[in-house]
Symmetry: D2
Subunit: 342 residues, 4 copies
Amino acid sequence: MVKVGIVGGTGYTGVELLRLLAQHPGVEIVTITSRGDAGTSVCSMFPSLRGRVDLEFEDPLASNLRSCDLVFFATPNGVAMQQAPELLDAGVRVIDLAADFRITDVAEWEKWYGMLHACPEWVASAVYGLPEVNRVAIREARLVANPGCYPTAVQLGFLPLVEAGLVDLDHLIADAKSGVSGAGRKAEVSSLFSEAADNFKAYGVPGHRHLPEIRQGLSRIAGVGVGLTFVPHLMPVIRGIHATLYSRIKEEADYQSLYELRYANEPFVDVLPAMSHPDTRSVRAANTCRIAIHRPQGGDTMVVLSVIDNLVKGAAGQAVQNMNIMFGLGETDGLWQLPVLP
Amino acid sequence: MVKVGIVGGTGYTGVELLRLLAQHPGVEIVTITSRGDAGTSVCSMFPSLRGRVDLEFEDPLASNLRSCDLVFFATPNGVAMQQAPELLDAGVRVIDLAADFRITDVAEWEKWYGMLHACPEWVASAVYGLPEVNRVAIREARLVANPGCYPTAVQLGFLPLVEAGLVDLDHLIADAKSGVSGAGRKAEVSSLFSEAADNFKAYGVPGHRHLPEIRQGLSRIAGVGVGLTFVPHLMPVIRGIHATLYSRIKEEADYQSLYELRYANEPFVDVLPAMSHPDTRSVRAANTCRIAIHRPQGGDTMVVLSVIDNLVKGAAGQAVQNMNIMFGLGETDGLWQLPVLP
Amino acid sequence: MVKVGIVGGTGYTGVELLRLLAQHPGVEIVTITSRGDAGTSVCSMFPSLRGRVDLEFEDPLASNLRSCDLVFFATPNGVAMQQAPELLDAGVRVIDLAADFRITDVAEWEKWYGMLHACPEWVASAVYGLPEVNRVAIREARLVANPGCYPTAVQLGFLPLVEAGLVDLDHLIADAKSGVSGAGRKAEVSSLFSEAADNFKAYGVPGHRHLPEIRQGLSRIAGVGVGLTFVPHLMPVIRGIHATLYSRIKEEADYQSLYELRYANEPFVDVLPAMSHPDTRSVRAANTCRIAIHRPQGGDTMVVLSVIDNLVKGAAGQAVQNMNIMFGLGETDGLWQLPVLP
Amino acid sequence: MVKVGIVGGTGYTGVELLRLLAQHPGVEIVTITSRGDAGTSVCSMFPSLRGRVDLEFEDPLASNLRSCDLVFFATPNGVAMQQAPELLDAGVRVIDLAADFRITDVAEWEKWYGMLHACPEWVASAVYGLPEVNRVAIREARLVANPGCYPTAVQLGFLPLVEAGLVDLDHLIADAKSGVSGAGRKAEVSSLFSEAADNFKAYGVPGHRHLPEIRQGLSRIAGVGVGLTFVPHLMPVIRGIHATLYSRIKEEADYQSLYELRYANEPFVDVLPAMSHPDTRSVRAANTCRIAIHRPQGGDTMVVLSVIDNLVKGAAGQAVQNMNIMFGLGETDGLWQLPVLP
């Protein structure tokens, strides 16, 4: 049994990690920490876990995180870079679900996240945890930077096109829509029901933190810097990301086959038949990314549709997938729940 | 492995049965039938099952339902009473998720359901499939009448009070709220998103088909006819029932303990600590009923709050629970998924 | 033109007052204040008012509230009792949309609201602003306590029964459901979209602040103290209250006619035909209360259904109605917008 | 008073027309017809209109449509082309809210709508009712083809760019999201609450009927054929369209000023300040289109955000605006209601 700890378990990625790990056959949850809620039972905050998770939130300082094989950081940006190094130095492996180790260019990271990086030395050795791209490196990683939710949906959607170099890489467009849980369990006016329900809007069009992450990922895949317009939207859905991706075709190819072949052995990427339209609920509560490819009117614009559950393949589920790879477990262990529909 | 068939798999209880059975370790799904969609692959209708359910809908007449150990009817009212008898006669056990066998008084059934009963002789031998009341009889049952969604939430909520005879049984009140999936996957104006979203209403106040079912169940438990006012409401939630139950106290007692003791060994009924308020999402996609007991202002009116997922404990999950009991499987086999929250 | 000011205009009742007053033919909005947002233009916070409301939030201290004929307090509980007296002393009339002047028994108020009352002397002279009960007194009132949202729906629903003394007044039950905007525009976890959407729950069953207000109102109408069980619920709707009211009949009567006669001349109470079920959207964004009366199965339990928009008849609309009465305007002036459906 | 009739008043555009016309100072509603619901009172179907609309649905054949000054067709595609000609011949002016007269190229129309056109001769003389483009022609029109909802949002969003010829007209992209009421009040599984709520998907990517309409409109404005990729999505919102528009800049310009100048005198188009993100609720229930212009990262891709209420500026409101223009009324008469927020 892999002994795991969770730092910062009171947010949505925290409770989702608990949901998945509590059902995982190869894991023992040793501790879950929360500075603010130490002493509170997990189930009094999340009654959905009653009878299945018998833990109290512990103060991080008092907890036995160092005795874990693996610690997940489900904390706000800027926490893991402070606290992970001493665990790493003690031989504990770490998966950070926040952004601290995602951007290799530390100056770029500092610009977008508005703070100085506390441990630039660890950034270089962190592995970007997108298994469909980095599976081999994840296996040996001591520190995994779990991808953001938008970056997961967008990169998996563009991946085969960009790898094959079949489209204009200077003008990629990602029109992405996220459910409100992507904003976390923070008390903010913009995430209130009465603000977000029965409403839809774009946000962050001038610049969103996931832009440099996606650009970095696609550029690595392409082997050359890509140009990307990224427009995120907030939709009145609890869980789910729908990315609609546009690119200009440079070369003819059998795009449907390209995608099917690329993802043939990926357990968590499902390429739909031609002419399909995946809906976000078809992956609700599951670790699957579903993708459909279109070429409307036979023109030169490709349209790729990519959906994930932002809390699963976009966060906690992908973290468990990374854990499975890191510890030699079956990659789908604990991640085989079917989507909940309707 | 129990070999099961599903008649009528294109509705919400059908797809929910598939979700649960596809993850059940002791079951083989032999066939799923649909008159209208014979030849269609299940996954083209429900992409959430892609890669996990590899079946086509079959015409009921052409299917091998008779070779099953158990057949679930997830059909509209009035179908099972036509088709189940020949399967029963062939030795196949049957669980009907519709209402055909729920009401013992056939004349009463015919009044509320507006049709003649096709096999009154089977009504008497059917077992009402509420395990918390009828577990022993279910074990041997050839035909189980799976309870309605409202009746499950209301009966489990009132059960300890009514068994103990501590309240005025002539004036029970059940104010119940249901998610829209309770109306099924039928194309009806009143179930449209633009009608039901951002809206709330009562319906069927003069009389709802679940009234006689609840009254029958509670009267059996009480050993005397009970009086019940039942007001159902439609709420803009996909899954979930919230029953708020009112009764007049006749005798002092430790009500919290009464409930805790009654349900101490029930795997799917969770009595919350005093002063709690269960929310419907705390049981979303799970087979659990959560209950809280209140006595506001110390007065003589008891308030019981009871929540279930109408598609799970209120339909498909309870059917699987009944199957587990009937076939000597572990009662919680295949039903151990945690609720999905948020 | 009546010159009005609004104190505390950044919440939902504030913006709703602006929506209604900006379309009112007999009103000039002189000032709107907000301590925290002084200097901000109203439209930058509420773009729905662009081109129609050309005001900035002003600091309350710097504003010319004293030059108004009427000041609305759309502030949290406890503010109006501090700031209204000096305006009242200066001859400005006041409508408080919060709870400061609703409960005549100051000790009772202090118990439920958890603070000392700052001006008990004004409590006695305040008029409870439910026009259907207090129209004459409102006309001359210097200080109107605008009723709470639940109290409006529940009192209007019970009023004819209680006035006529036809039901058991010791055991009234109000099962009430509110949209999330009733909790205001405060950043609180429990009001987040991801908490409240696709979910339903009761809250405050042991005791809610609107209980004493409703009990006081119904007791005055009855001329005797009433017993009430009040269970509020949170539903995933932006605007709307649905009250389902239960009472035991003591005497036979033509209840439908009783209601129709009582409300025959009320412009904002609509008694539906027998057997109706009002939905909350049928009053969305309008100042109407719709009511239906049922006697299920011909038994001795009356069921009354009462719906309002909590921000209109339950707050800002009723305040404008009170203003109209106070200043001799047409009672329906500025309140004649049709509900928005769907 | 303009005497108007409505053909087909039982859908969402029909009831929205009634809401607007019932509050319009210069209009008398003479008749509303419905083949299927003749004899039913309008208010029994739409209780939101109780006390304000005192009409019964009439059989179209028995009605006095010919005595009207203007008849609105709020019917499915294919009805107006059958029934409008005889009214037009009788001197009645007509606004068709469906698609029958929107596409000038009859063969193209027949391809996309899958039926033969019943009166191609009227297509040529119909005026496309987008006032911001065709105001002068609308004034004299006998037959107005009211634009589709997506086409309104997309054309108003692209209009200044396309008029000025500043972007690559061969590769426009419109990523558009619609609320579910856009699908009408038809009983269809895909529009059910349990299908559309908490869900998001693209649809019609290979080709949607609004594509040729938008392409025709933009091509006329450009004076040259444009190339457009149009991807519609269904979002869990009742009312609202959000169009996110992408185009490649060919020439530098002050885009913000371009938009502000173009729409300076338009009463129903609101250009937001730079860096804004309009949300759909900011136009809920109002006839306004709000637009924001972005140029992310200073690159060569323009992003325009355009929102409308699909039932108002995208249907019934625009029809009333067209009526106002046709009959010399004030263009904003009856359309001055403020958006409902929250």
